[in-house]
Symmetry: C2
Subunit: 224 residues, 2 copies
Protein backbone atom coordinates (compact mmCIF):
# COMPACT_ATOMS: atom_id res chain seq x y z
CA UNK A 1 0.00 0.00 0.00
CA UNK A 2 2.94 2.37 0.56
CA UNK A 3 3.58 2.28 -3.14
CA UNK A 4 -0.04 3.21 -3.78
CA UNK A 5 0.12 6.09 -1.29
CA UNK A 6 3.17 7.47 -3.02
CA UNK A 7 1.45 7.09 -6.38
CA UNK A 8 -1.72 8.82 -5.09
CA UNK A 9 0.27 11.72 -3.66
CA UNK A 10 2.02 12.14 -6.99
CA UNK A 11 -0.33 11.25 -9.84
CA UNK A 12 -3.61 12.10 -8.12
CA UNK A 13 -2.15 14.92 -6.03
CA UNK A 14 -3.68 13.73 -2.77
CA UNK A 15 -1.79 12.61 0.31
CA UNK A 16 -4.11 10.18 2.09
CA UNK A 17 -4.44 10.50 5.87
CA UNK A 18 -6.43 7.27 6.07
CA UNK A 19 -4.63 4.64 4.01
CA UNK A 20 -7.51 2.18 4.43
CA UNK A 21 -9.69 4.39 2.27
CA UNK A 22 -7.15 4.34 -0.54
CA UNK A 23 -6.73 0.60 -0.15
CA UNK A 24 -10.49 0.01 -0.41
CA UNK A 25 -10.75 2.35 -3.42
CA UNK A 26 -8.12 0.28 -5.22
CA UNK A 27 -9.69 -3.10 -4.42
CA UNK A 28 -11.98 -4.66 -7.03
CA UNK A 29 -14.81 -6.80 -5.71
CA UNK A 30 -13.11 -9.89 -7.16
CA UNK A 31 -10.29 -9.55 -4.60
CA UNK A 32 -10.62 -10.35 -0.91
CA UNK A 33 -11.14 -7.64 1.71
CA UNK A 34 -13.21 -4.46 1.63
CA UNK A 35 -13.77 -3.54 -2.02
CA UNK A 36 -14.54 -0.35 -3.87
CA UNK A 37 -18.21 -0.58 -4.88
CA UNK A 38 -19.54 1.64 -2.08
CA UNK A 39 -16.79 4.21 -2.62
CA UNK A 40 -17.56 4.15 -6.33
CA UNK A 41 -21.20 5.00 -5.53
CA UNK A 42 -20.07 7.98 -3.48
CA UNK A 43 -17.35 9.07 -5.91
CA UNK A 44 -19.74 8.96 -8.85
CA UNK A 45 -21.97 11.47 -7.03
CA UNK A 46 -19.03 13.73 -6.10
CA UNK A 47 -17.81 13.65 -9.68
CA UNK A 48 -21.31 14.54 -10.86
CA UNK A 49 -21.57 17.69 -8.78
CA UNK A 50 -18.03 18.91 -9.51
CA UNK A 51 -18.54 18.53 -13.27
CA UNK A 52 -22.02 20.04 -13.03
CA UNK A 53 -20.61 23.14 -11.31
CA UNK A 54 -17.66 23.43 -13.71
CA UNK A 55 -20.03 23.32 -16.70
CA UNK A 56 -22.50 25.69 -15.05
CA UNK A 57 -19.71 28.25 -14.65
CA UNK A 58 -17.94 27.56 -17.98
CA UNK A 59 -21.15 27.87 -20.02
CA UNK A 60 -23.16 30.67 -18.40
CA UNK A 61 -25.60 30.84 -21.31
CA UNK A 62 -26.06 27.16 -22.06
CA UNK A 63 -29.53 25.73 -21.47
CA UNK A 64 -29.88 22.84 -19.05
CA UNK A 65 -30.09 20.27 -21.87
CA UNK A 66 -26.64 21.23 -23.16
CA UNK A 67 -25.16 21.03 -19.66
CA UNK A 68 -26.68 17.56 -19.19
CA UNK A 69 -25.31 16.26 -22.48
CA UNK A 70 -21.87 17.72 -21.81
CA UNK A 71 -21.79 16.17 -18.37
CA UNK A 72 -22.90 12.77 -19.67
CA UNK A 73 -20.00 12.82 -22.14
CA UNK A 74 -17.51 13.69 -19.38
CA UNK A 75 -18.60 11.20 -16.73
CA UNK A 76 -19.28 8.16 -18.90
CA UNK A 77 -17.20 5.01 -18.41
CA UNK A 78 -15.16 5.55 -21.54
CA UNK A 79 -13.95 9.03 -20.51
CA UNK A 80 -13.26 7.84 -16.97
CA UNK A 81 -11.23 4.92 -18.33
CA UNK A 82 -9.14 7.36 -20.39
CA UNK A 83 -8.50 9.43 -17.27
CA UNK A 84 -7.63 6.23 -15.38
CA UNK A 85 -4.95 5.49 -17.99
CA UNK A 86 -3.57 9.03 -17.72
CA UNK A 87 -3.49 8.59 -13.92
CA UNK A 88 -1.80 5.23 -14.25
CA UNK A 89 -4.17 3.70 -11.67
CA UNK A 90 -4.27 0.26 -13.34
CA UNK A 91 -1.20 -1.38 -11.76
CA UNK A 92 -2.39 -0.37 -8.27
CA UNK A 93 -5.80 -2.06 -8.53
CA UNK A 94 -6.12 -5.25 -6.46
CA UNK A 95 -7.91 -7.97 -8.42
CA UNK A 96 -8.98 -11.54 -7.72
CA UNK A 97 -7.07 -14.33 -9.48
CA UNK A 98 -9.68 -14.74 -12.25
CA UNK A 99 -9.70 -11.05 -13.22
CA UNK A 100 -5.91 -10.94 -12.94
CA UNK A 101 -5.52 -13.77 -15.43
CA UNK A 102 -7.89 -12.23 -17.96
CA UNK A 103 -6.26 -8.79 -17.97
CA UNK A 104 -8.66 -7.00 -15.63
CA UNK A 105 -6.11 -4.21 -15.07
CA UNK A 106 -6.82 -3.02 -18.55
CA UNK A 107 -10.61 -3.48 -18.54
CA UNK A 108 -12.42 -0.18 -19.11
CA UNK A 109 -15.10 -0.70 -16.47
CA UNK A 110 -12.62 -1.76 -13.77
CA UNK A 111 -10.45 1.28 -14.48
CA UNK A 112 -13.39 3.67 -14.51
CA UNK A 113 -14.88 2.25 -11.30
CA UNK A 114 -11.56 2.51 -9.43
CA UNK A 115 -11.19 6.13 -10.54
CA UNK A 116 -14.65 6.98 -9.21
CA UNK A 117 -13.86 5.11 -5.99
CA UNK A 118 -10.65 7.13 -5.64
CA UNK A 119 -12.70 10.34 -5.87
CA UNK A 120 -15.06 9.01 -3.17
CA UNK A 121 -12.08 8.06 -0.97
CA UNK A 122 -10.55 11.53 -1.26
CA UNK A 123 -13.93 13.04 -0.35
CA UNK A 124 -14.11 10.95 2.84
CA UNK A 125 -10.43 11.48 3.63
CA UNK A 126 -10.28 15.25 3.26
CA UNK A 127 -13.70 16.68 2.36
CA UNK A 128 -15.49 18.13 -0.62
CA UNK A 129 -12.96 20.81 -1.45
CA UNK A 130 -10.07 18.33 -1.72
CA UNK A 131 -12.13 16.00 -3.91
CA UNK A 132 -13.22 18.92 -6.06
CA UNK A 133 -9.64 20.07 -6.55
CA UNK A 134 -8.62 16.59 -7.64
CA UNK A 135 -11.51 16.20 -10.09
CA UNK A 136 -10.77 19.60 -11.62
CA UNK A 137 -7.10 18.60 -12.03
CA UNK A 138 -8.01 15.27 -13.62
CA UNK A 139 -10.47 16.94 -15.99
CA UNK A 140 -8.48 20.12 -16.69
CA UNK A 141 -7.73 19.52 -20.36
CA UNK A 142 -11.20 18.17 -21.07
CA UNK A 143 -12.90 21.13 -19.39
CA UNK A 144 -10.75 23.50 -21.44
CA UNK A 145 -11.72 21.81 -24.71
CA UNK A 146 -15.40 21.09 -24.29
CA UNK A 147 -17.16 19.74 -27.37
CA UNK A 148 -19.86 21.93 -28.86
CA UNK A 149 -23.25 20.93 -27.49
CA UNK A 150 -24.40 20.13 -31.04
CA UNK A 151 -21.79 17.41 -31.42
CA UNK A 152 -23.37 15.61 -28.49
CA UNK A 153 -26.92 15.63 -29.78
CA UNK A 154 -28.41 12.43 -31.07
CA UNK A 155 -28.87 12.03 -34.84
CA UNK A 156 -32.65 12.53 -34.85
CA UNK A 157 -32.29 15.83 -32.99
CA UNK A 158 -29.44 16.97 -35.26
CA UNK A 159 -31.46 16.10 -38.37
CA UNK A 160 -34.54 17.90 -37.06
CA UNK A 161 -32.58 21.03 -36.14
CA UNK A 162 -30.75 21.08 -39.47
CA UNK A 163 -34.04 20.85 -41.39
CA UNK A 164 -35.66 23.53 -39.20
CA UNK A 165 -32.65 25.79 -39.87
CA UNK A 166 -33.30 25.38 -43.60
CA UNK A 167 -37.01 26.10 -43.18
CA UNK A 168 -37.82 22.60 -44.38
CA UNK A 169 -40.49 20.12 -43.29
CA UNK A 170 -39.66 17.71 -40.44
CA UNK A 171 -38.78 14.08 -41.22
CA UNK A 172 -41.23 11.24 -40.82
CA UNK A 173 -40.27 7.89 -39.37
CA UNK A 174 -42.17 4.79 -40.42
CA UNK A 175 -41.70 1.26 -39.11
CA UNK A 176 -41.48 -0.93 -42.21
CA UNK A 177 -41.02 -4.29 -40.59
CA UNK A 178 -40.64 -6.00 -37.24
CA UNK A 179 -39.05 -9.44 -37.38
CA UNK A 180 -37.87 -11.97 -34.81
CA UNK A 181 -39.38 -13.28 -31.59
CA UNK A 182 -40.55 -10.98 -28.82
CA UNK A 183 -37.28 -11.10 -26.89
CA UNK A 184 -35.11 -10.58 -29.97
CA UNK A 185 -36.96 -8.29 -32.33
CA UNK A 186 -35.41 -6.33 -35.15
CA UNK A 187 -37.03 -3.14 -36.37
CA UNK A 188 -36.65 -1.76 -39.87
CA UNK A 189 -37.44 1.93 -40.09
CA UNK A 190 -37.58 4.47 -42.92
CA UNK A 191 -36.73 8.14 -42.40
CA UNK A 192 -38.54 10.20 -45.05
CA UNK A 193 -38.24 13.87 -45.94
CA UNK A 194 -41.78 14.80 -46.95
CA UNK A 195 -40.75 17.77 -49.13
CA UNK A 196 -38.40 15.82 -51.41
CA UNK A 197 -39.48 12.23 -50.86
CA UNK A 198 -35.87 11.31 -50.07
CA UNK A 199 -35.73 8.23 -47.88
CA UNK A 200 -33.13 6.36 -45.82
CA UNK A 201 -33.72 2.93 -44.32
CA UNK A 202 -31.99 1.33 -41.35
CA UNK A 203 -32.53 -1.51 -38.88
CA UNK A 204 -31.92 -1.87 -35.15
CA UNK A 205 -32.74 -3.93 -32.08
CA UNK A 206 -35.28 -1.34 -30.92
CA UNK A 207 -37.48 1.11 -32.71
CA UNK A 208 -35.45 3.98 -31.24
CA UNK A 209 -32.13 2.55 -32.38
CA UNK A 210 -33.45 1.93 -35.88
CA UNK A 211 -34.76 5.52 -36.09
CA UNK A 212 -31.43 6.95 -34.94
CA UNK A 213 -29.58 4.82 -37.49
CA UNK A 214 -31.93 5.99 -40.26
CA UNK A 215 -31.40 9.62 -39.19
CA UNK A 216 -27.61 9.13 -39.23
CA UNK A 217 -27.83 7.75 -42.73
CA UNK A 218 -30.04 10.70 -43.79
CA UNK A 219 -27.56 13.20 -42.33
CA UNK A 220 -24.79 11.54 -44.35
CA UNK A 221 -26.90 11.70 -47.52
CA UNK A 222 -27.58 15.41 -46.91
CA UNK A 223 -23.91 16.13 -46.33
CA UNK A 224 -22.98 14.62 -49.71
CA UNK B 1 -38.42 39.08 -3.36
CA UNK B 2 -38.04 40.33 0.24
CA UNK B 3 -40.85 38.03 1.24
CA UNK B 4 -39.06 35.12 -0.40
CA UNK B 5 -35.79 35.97 1.36
CA UNK B 6 -37.54 35.99 4.71
CA UNK B 7 -39.20 32.68 3.87
CA UNK B 8 -35.85 31.14 2.78
CA UNK B 9 -34.14 32.30 5.97
CA UNK B 10 -36.91 30.75 8.02
CA UNK B 11 -38.25 27.63 6.32
CA UNK B 12 -35.08 26.67 4.44
CA UNK B 13 -32.70 28.01 7.10
CA UNK B 14 -30.53 29.91 4.64
CA UNK B 15 -30.02 33.67 4.56
CA UNK B 16 -29.19 34.47 0.94
CA UNK B 17 -26.34 36.90 0.27
CA UNK B 18 -27.17 37.04 -3.43
CA UNK B 19 -30.91 37.56 -3.77
CA UNK B 20 -30.75 37.08 -7.55
CA UNK B 21 -29.87 33.43 -7.02
CA UNK B 22 -32.94 32.90 -4.87
CA UNK B 23 -35.06 34.78 -7.38
CA UNK B 24 -33.85 32.59 -10.27
CA UNK B 25 -34.36 29.42 -8.22
CA UNK B 26 -37.98 30.39 -7.64
CA UNK B 27 -38.71 31.26 -11.29
CA UNK B 28 -40.29 28.60 -13.48
CA UNK B 29 -39.34 28.67 -17.15
CA UNK B 30 -42.91 29.72 -18.02
CA UNK B 31 -42.31 33.10 -16.35
CA UNK B 32 -40.17 35.89 -17.79
CA UNK B 33 -36.59 36.50 -16.65
CA UNK B 34 -33.83 34.09 -15.66
CA UNK B 35 -35.45 30.79 -14.74
CA UNK B 36 -34.48 27.83 -12.61
CA UNK B 37 -33.57 25.04 -15.05
CA UNK B 38 -29.80 25.49 -14.82
CA UNK B 39 -29.93 25.79 -11.03
CA UNK B 40 -32.08 22.66 -10.92
CA UNK B 41 -29.37 20.81 -12.88
CA UNK B 42 -26.78 21.88 -10.32
CA UNK B 43 -29.01 21.32 -7.30
CA UNK B 44 -29.92 17.82 -8.44
CA UNK B 45 -26.21 16.93 -8.42
CA UNK B 46 -25.63 18.51 -5.00
CA UNK B 47 -28.64 16.66 -3.60
CA UNK B 48 -27.27 13.43 -5.08
CA UNK B 49 -23.93 13.66 -3.34
CA UNK B 50 -25.34 14.75 0.03
CA UNK B 51 -27.82 11.88 0.07
CA UNK B 52 -25.15 9.46 -1.18
CA UNK B 53 -22.86 10.40 1.70
CA UNK B 54 -25.65 10.29 4.28
CA UNK B 55 -26.61 6.77 3.17
CA UNK B 56 -22.97 5.66 2.95
CA UNK B 57 -22.51 6.66 6.61
CA UNK B 58 -25.93 5.53 7.86
CA UNK B 59 -25.62 2.07 6.32
CA UNK B 60 -21.97 1.06 6.73
CA UNK B 61 -22.67 -2.54 5.76
CA UNK B 62 -25.11 -2.04 2.90
CA UNK B 63 -23.95 -3.12 -0.54
CA UNK B 64 -23.87 -0.52 -3.31
CA UNK B 65 -27.15 -1.77 -4.83
CA UNK B 66 -29.04 -1.05 -1.60
CA UNK B 67 -27.52 2.44 -1.39
CA UNK B 68 -28.54 3.15 -5.00
CA UNK B 69 -32.11 2.02 -4.46
CA UNK B 70 -32.41 4.00 -1.21
CA UNK B 71 -31.08 7.11 -2.91
CA UNK B 72 -33.42 6.73 -5.87
CA UNK B 73 -36.37 6.61 -3.49
CA UNK B 74 -35.19 9.76 -1.68
CA UNK B 75 -34.37 11.95 -4.69
CA UNK B 76 -37.30 11.08 -6.96
CA UNK B 77 -39.77 13.80 -7.95
CA UNK B 78 -42.48 12.52 -5.63
CA UNK B 79 -40.31 12.73 -2.50
CA UNK B 80 -39.00 16.13 -3.53
CA UNK B 81 -42.53 17.37 -4.05
CA UNK B 82 -43.45 16.23 -0.53
CA UNK B 83 -40.45 18.12 0.83
CA UNK B 84 -41.48 21.15 -1.23
CA UNK B 85 -44.88 21.08 0.48
CA UNK B 86 -43.27 20.82 3.92
CA UNK B 87 -41.03 23.79 2.98
CA UNK B 88 -44.01 25.75 1.71
CA UNK B 89 -42.11 26.79 -1.41
CA UNK B 90 -45.17 26.74 -3.68
CA UNK B 91 -46.49 30.28 -3.10
CA UNK B 92 -43.04 31.77 -3.79
CA UNK B 93 -42.63 30.20 -7.23
CA UNK B 94 -42.98 32.66 -10.12
CA UNK B 95 -45.04 31.16 -12.94
CA UNK B 96 -46.16 32.31 -16.37
CA UNK B 97 -49.86 33.16 -16.81
CA UNK B 98 -50.70 29.76 -18.34
CA UNK B 99 -49.20 27.72 -15.52
CA UNK B 100 -50.69 30.11 -12.98
CA UNK B 101 -54.19 29.54 -14.31
CA UNK B 102 -53.87 25.75 -14.33
CA UNK B 103 -52.62 25.48 -10.74
CA UNK B 104 -48.88 25.12 -11.45
CA UNK B 105 -48.09 26.03 -7.83
CA UNK B 106 -49.38 22.66 -6.82
CA UNK B 107 -47.89 20.61 -9.69
CA UNK B 108 -45.49 17.96 -8.39
CA UNK B 109 -42.79 18.49 -11.01
CA UNK B 110 -42.76 22.29 -10.62
CA UNK B 111 -42.48 21.96 -6.84
CA UNK B 112 -39.72 19.34 -7.07
CA UNK B 113 -37.74 21.32 -9.64
CA UNK B 114 -37.88 24.53 -7.59
CA UNK B 115 -36.67 22.64 -4.51
CA UNK B 116 -33.69 21.26 -6.43
CA UNK B 117 -33.00 24.73 -7.83
CA UNK B 118 -33.09 26.14 -4.29
CA UNK B 119 -30.40 23.61 -3.28
CA UNK B 120 -28.30 24.67 -6.28
CA UNK B 121 -28.77 28.34 -5.40
CA UNK B 122 -27.64 27.79 -1.79
CA UNK B 123 -24.59 25.92 -3.11
CA UNK B 124 -23.59 28.89 -5.30
CA UNK B 125 -24.48 31.42 -2.62
CA UNK B 126 -22.59 29.88 0.29
CA UNK B 127 -20.77 26.70 -0.79
CA UNK B 128 -21.08 22.97 -0.41
CA UNK B 129 -21.22 22.88 3.36
CA UNK B 130 -24.20 25.26 3.54
CA UNK B 131 -26.06 23.32 0.85
CA UNK B 132 -25.26 20.05 2.62
CA UNK B 133 -26.59 21.40 5.93
CA UNK B 134 -29.83 22.46 4.27
CA UNK B 135 -30.34 19.13 2.49
CA UNK B 136 -29.70 17.22 5.72
CA UNK B 137 -32.25 19.42 7.51
CA UNK B 138 -34.85 18.94 4.78
CA UNK B 139 -34.31 15.18 4.75
CA UNK B 140 -33.83 14.70 8.52
CA UNK B 141 -36.96 12.69 9.23
CA UNK B 142 -36.62 10.61 6.05
CA UNK B 143 -32.98 9.77 6.79
CA UNK B 144 -33.94 8.69 10.31
CA UNK B 145 -36.67 6.37 9.02
CA UNK B 146 -35.11 4.77 5.95
CA UNK B 147 -37.12 1.98 4.35
CA UNK B 148 -35.57 -1.47 4.41
CA UNK B 149 -33.66 -2.09 1.18
CA UNK B 150 -35.92 -5.08 0.45
CA UNK B 151 -39.00 -2.86 0.29
CA UNK B 152 -37.39 -0.98 -2.61
CA UNK B 153 -36.57 -3.99 -4.76
CA UNK B 154 -38.61 -4.65 -7.86
CA UNK B 155 -41.12 -7.53 -7.79
CA UNK B 156 -39.03 -9.91 -9.96
CA UNK B 157 -36.04 -9.52 -7.64
CA UNK B 158 -38.21 -9.96 -4.53
CA UNK B 159 -39.80 -13.09 -5.97
CA UNK B 160 -36.44 -14.56 -6.94
CA UNK B 161 -34.92 -13.88 -3.54
CA UNK B 162 -37.93 -15.28 -1.70
CA UNK B 163 -37.78 -18.51 -3.72
CA UNK B 164 -34.00 -18.79 -3.23
CA UNK B 165 -34.52 -18.34 0.52
CA UNK B 166 -36.90 -21.33 0.44
CA UNK B 167 -34.43 -23.39 -1.60
CA UNK B 168 -36.92 -23.50 -4.48
CA UNK B 169 -36.38 -23.35 -8.24
CA UNK B 170 -36.35 -19.94 -9.91
CA UNK B 171 -39.40 -18.67 -11.82
CA UNK B 172 -39.63 -18.79 -15.59
CA UNK B 173 -41.12 -15.96 -17.64
CA UNK B 174 -42.74 -16.74 -20.96
CA UNK B 175 -44.16 -14.25 -23.44
CA UNK B 176 -47.58 -15.63 -24.35
CA UNK B 177 -48.71 -12.96 -26.77
CA UNK B 178 -47.70 -9.67 -28.35
CA UNK B 179 -50.55 -7.62 -29.76
CA UNK B 180 -50.89 -4.16 -31.30
CA UNK B 181 -48.80 -2.25 -33.79
CA UNK B 182 -45.07 -1.72 -33.37
CA UNK B 183 -45.42 1.62 -31.61
CA UNK B 184 -48.17 0.48 -29.29
CA UNK B 185 -47.54 -3.15 -28.42
CA UNK B 186 -48.98 -5.01 -25.47
CA UNK B 187 -47.13 -7.99 -24.02
CA UNK B 188 -48.83 -10.81 -22.15
CA UNK B 189 -46.43 -12.75 -19.95
CA UNK B 190 -46.71 -15.80 -17.73
CA UNK B 191 -44.62 -16.24 -14.60
CA UNK B 192 -44.30 -19.97 -13.84
CA UNK B 193 -42.86 -21.77 -10.82
CA UNK B 194 -41.32 -24.90 -12.34
CA UNK B 195 -41.48 -26.97 -9.13
CA UNK B 196 -45.23 -26.60 -8.58
CA UNK B 197 -46.45 -25.50 -12.00
CA UNK B 198 -48.19 -22.52 -10.39
CA UNK B 199 -48.66 -19.73 -12.92
CA UNK B 200 -49.61 -16.05 -12.90
CA UNK B 201 -50.36 -14.07 -16.02
CA UNK B 202 -50.17 -10.30 -16.57
CA UNK B 203 -49.97 -7.79 -19.40
CA UNK B 204 -48.02 -4.59 -19.91
CA UNK B 205 -46.79 -2.07 -22.48
CA UNK B 206 -43.31 -3.62 -22.47
CA UNK B 207 -42.02 -7.08 -21.83
CA UNK B 208 -40.32 -5.84 -18.68
CA UNK B 209 -43.50 -4.23 -17.30
CA UNK B 210 -45.54 -7.36 -18.02
CA UNK B 211 -42.96 -9.54 -16.25
CA UNK B 212 -42.93 -7.27 -13.21
CA UNK B 213 -46.73 -7.33 -13.08
CA UNK B 214 -46.75 -11.14 -13.33
CA UNK B 215 -44.16 -11.33 -10.52
CA UNK B 216 -46.28 -9.01 -8.34
CA UNK B 217 -49.29 -11.22 -8.89
CA UNK B 218 -47.21 -14.32 -8.07
CA UNK B 219 -45.95 -12.70 -4.82
CA UNK B 220 -49.55 -12.01 -3.85
CA UNK B 221 -50.53 -15.60 -4.58
CA UNK B 222 -47.64 -16.88 -2.45
CA UNK B 223 -48.56 -14.59 0.44
CA UNK B 224 -52.10 -16.02 0.57
Amino acid sequence: MNDARTWAAGAAGHQFTDGHLLEAALTHRSASGPHNERLEFLGDAVLGVVIAEALFLARPDAPEGDLSRLRASLVRKQTLAEIALELGIGPYIQLGPGELKTGGHRRESILADATEALIGAVYLDAGFSAARDMVLRLYATRLQALPSPDELKDPKTRLQEWLQGQGRALPEYVVLEVTGEAHRQEFTVACRLPDTGHESIAAGRSRRKAEQAAATSMLEDLRD
